[in-house]
């Protein structure tokens, strides 16, 4: 009887699409999230999510999937922030703050100006993975494969640069280039995650499963693997509760990951 609750949703095509996207997001977020939490880039992640709004609205306006607009916007913004942080005297959180509020405001103005098109602001802000289209699923799968391959190939290099930037540069690594690549991948992961949790909650999905894993796993590789388990669990459990209790997917997924974090925290606290 209760097994039906697990199987029943997937007689619908839209739920199968949603499941694929959720699992992809659950895998990708901790891959990048493990770096984000150790390099204290959470604010950067939050900013990137907000800054892609103009790209999403522009894509809507011309009848494309918002993802198509969000991906290039995200990459350009990530590289611009990286450049600003390196080249100016303004501190990183100030430059990030300026850029992202400016772009988010632009996106909101665009929504009002393009009043004729049907933009569901709530879906953009909170995510609605059940309305994912076929093409969005294909794009998600491609981006997940690309991210997995690059993060695997550059596994040690990414760690070396985050841990000891100077040492890595001297060892002959193209540290700045790999840093920019990390930012570009971060923006890709964020755009894919937007489908599930929306702009407002992206950073939770990016950092919470990885942070929960870091409470339990001792080593970096363990943080990533356990983080992926937590990420997939959050996304899938969130999806089920979204379906059964008619909740928006974003809050359901984010709340599940927060719950996993609290349980990890409590178990660590009990051990100590």
């Amino acid at each position: 009887m209760w097994v039906d609750a697990f199987i029943e949703p997937f007689q619908y095509q839209f739920m199968i699409r949603a499941l694929i996207v959720c699992v992809s997001v659950g895998v990708m977020c901790p891959l990048l999230g493990a770096h984000v939490i150790n390099r204290e880039m959470g604010f950067m992640g939050d900013a990137l999510a907000h800054a892609v709004l103009p790209g999403m609205v522009a894509a809507y306006a011309v009848g494309l999937s918002p993802m198509v607009g969000a991906i290039p916007t995200g990459i350009v913004v990530a590289l611009a922030i990286g450049f600003m942080v390196r080249k100016s005297n303004i501190s990183s959180d100030t430059s990030i703050g300026i850029l992202f509020t400016g772009l988010f405001a632009l996106g909101l103005v665009m929504i009002t100006l393009l009043g004729g098109i049907s933009v569901n602001v709530e879906d953009i802000l909170l995510g609605q993975v059940m309305s994912t289209s076929n093409s969005e699923v294909y794009i998600t799968i491609c981006l997940t494969v690309i991210t997995l391959c690059l993060m695997t190939m550059l596994y040690k290099q990414m760690i070396f640069i985050g841990f000891d930037f100077e040492g890595a540069t001297v060892a002959g690594l193209s540290a700045s280039k790999i840093n920019y690549l990390l930012l570009a991948l971060l923006s890709i992961v964020i755009v894919v995650t937007l489908q599930v949790v929306g702009i407002v909650l992206v950073v939770g999905m990016l950092i919470t499963p990885a942070a929960a894993a870091s409470l339990i796993a001792r080593r970096f590789s363990g943080v990533i693997l356990l983080g992926i388990l937590f990420g997939v669990l959050s996304a899938v459990v969130g999806l089920y509760s979204s379906y059964h209790f008619n909740l928006p997917s974003g809050p359901a997924v984010a709340l599940t990951s927060t719950l996993i974090f609290i349980l990890s925290f409590a178990s660590k606290w009990r051990i100590n």
């Binding site: 550059l154 001297v170 060892a171 970096f220």
Partner: protein
Amino acid sequence: MDRRCPCAKSQCDCCIQVFGACVEFENFLALDEVSFAIPQGVLTGVVGPNGGGKTTLFDALVGLQPIAHGEILVNGLAPGNSAGRVSYVPQRERVNWRFPLSVKDVVGLGQSGKGSLLQRLGFTSSNQVEEALRKVDMWDRKDELVSNLSGGQRQRTFIARALTQEADILILDEAFSGVDIASQEGVINVLRNLRNEGKTILMATHDLNTLADRFDEVLCINRHICAHGSPESVFTKEVLTELYGSHGEMFAEHQVGHHPHVG
């Protein structure tokens, strides 16, 4: 290039050559016409006051800091082209200790992008990692997190990373800050063994008293090179005054362990 090495010998095996290098920060001259040469296989201590340009010099040698004038050659190439033959151990504050990495993980970083897929992902490590860890006497601690190590153990871990990187020049900035005397000796012994194998080592240090026992040569820097040579020859009254001002001559005896009230 038809130019004499700054060591002024007709034939030499200097692997670090600095010809009149200047580093400018806006209107401030951090390094002023610095010239010197370091022969291969020598353990050199670099001393000078805080703000005297030790870190700036090291950054310039490894290509992290561009120079305004002059030229630097490392293994005959401009800095930054060493492709891993130089290894840099930065000051403790420049490393992000938040990363949960074991000793073995850090030493394995020296082989980034090399080896099988499992080695690249850090699940297995090559014999070189074990060999390097045994050389610095850290094999027993291979699974400990580097953030939990003492200062001396961290230095030995970074030295092992330089070995897996197959570097022949090691540059250590303030390697002894926060490291107790006994552990300092341990690190120095490791460095001496590497020097005997032909590695060239430059290390910034503050401790003037132990220089003679520890280093083959001493390079004194206070924005320019005040002296360079064997520890016995460099510490004249003039050099100490140039390094540390008119009270400089007191510094040599003014260290923990030499103070009359101690012990």
